[in-house]
Symmetry: C2
Subunit: 303 residues, 2 copies
Amino acid sequence: MTDTPPEAPAQTAVGFIGLGIMGASMAGHIQAAGYALHVHNRSPEKARALLDAGATWHDSIPGLARACDMIVTMVGYPADVEQVYFGAAGAPDTGILANLKPGAVAIDMTTSSPGLAERIAATAAGRGAAALDAPVSGGDMGARNATLAIMVGGDQATFDRVLPVFQAMGKAIALMGPAGAGQHTKMVNQTVIAGTIQGVAEALAYAQVAGLDQRQVLDVIGGGAAGGFQLNVLGKRMVEGDFAPGFYVHHFLKDMGIAAAEAERMGLDLPALALARRQYQRFADEGGREDGTQGLYKMVVKG
Amino acid sequence: MTDTPPEAPAQTAVGFIGLGIMGASMAGHIQAAGYALHVHNRSPEKARALLDAGATWHDSIPGLARACDMIVTMVGYPADVEQVYFGAAGAPDTGILANLKPGAVAIDMTTSSPGLAERIAATAAGRGAAALDAPVSGGDMGARNATLAIMVGGDQATFDRVLPVFQAMGKAIALMGPAGAGQHTKMVNQTVIAGTIQGVAEALAYAQVAGLDQRQVLDVIGGGAAGGFQLNVLGKRMVEGDFAPGFYVHHFLKDMGIAAAEAERMGLDLPALALARRQYQRFADEGGREDGTQGLYKMVVKG
């Protein structure tokens, strides 16, 4: 849809802000694809491997923004996205948007609010630049293996331009609609999971209390109408007592909070999502914040 | 575990009671495997094809029971199972158990209560016979294609004896433990589904209200952490507006009622299961009884 071909990687400066577990892997893939990588992170030590491989460090977000043609952000919460894009309170010049080059593209891959994505896109457009919301699913493993699903909101021309960068990080990559549509799609994904993980945790607690061999139960029901990733992968971890985080409880709570707020705004009553939020909040309050989402099983079993 | 080899099919009289959509297919597979099939059903016309293929009709349950080495039942509700096995109120002689031949096996494949399965097994043993509970999953399609999962409760020797009959009807066949364990396993399966189908219905309602292309959403999220039978098969039917029953709402309500009662008896709090029961009861009350379980979507969308 755009007349200009995708930029040649070596001539394209791609900034990356937010080098957490997932971000560091994703930035590494962009670098490996040949792009000139620029990085900024709250904890500079997490940039070390990328800098050793030739990335350029920036002490500040404005410095990075002014140097880059594309800027990818992968931070924690919507409040972090707000600050990274719009600057610290009372200091808009410290954010990405005030320093975006004309024609540049900012791409937020954090799971964040659709409304915030719309505001970012509108502000970027007002500066003659563009923005995409592009949350992912697939977790740290998907980030490491460049097999993420990437759900994108924005316009077709910008999507086409950024597609080669997405292809360095993921497999299922889809433009879902205008600004915010990527975030909405991620909320759909998380809402399915909210119901499913509760069903899996409750069912395996039932199996345990009924005296069944839980592994044998997984074998016999995993291929049928109950089967899926949550049962077959996370259910297995529940029965093995492996509660290490693939996906953190506190991140899931953030996502469900966004989905619930959006549903309410749209006038939609989603009781299973609401129940999952209450259950996970209780689990977090009881010490489960840093567990993987499969940890809910422990709370259901002990009642 | 048993010293006697499995009976030769042609010398083994297998009775089948309950020729509904699933039962008729299952009985047909037993007949096709070479067993001498005996049938009884509340509506005799449903036996026509089996009788044409050589099955023996019995006007009464006692008549069938006295003629058979193995008796399979596939009826509707636990109350039906109770009556078929223990006879009409005040008339125990009209049930299977009072008429079971010594050495015979009664196999209840209805999804029913674990406690009732234990009572049937104890009563059968008291008569020098045996019983298995063997509910299935896989629906009418699994029954038709002989690909059912069969979850069995009972003793190993009886299981081994009946296994060739199960193999005529299903694929994943497992002895899960003593009497009642087959029913408990089915309850685990239904509890997973209860949470999952709610998540799927709420998520696709969100997608619709947010203005996303639901088919594209299914494509992008169906292969990831939200993916599974409920999303990929029933979610697809939701977005296509296909609410025809693969699995009836009123049967799902029966199953969830049993699971909830068992959970309560075991002192287990299962809030997502409880929510699904309330939601499906409301949907049934509003006219959804004869819909497939994916019909819940309609109720979530309209709020």
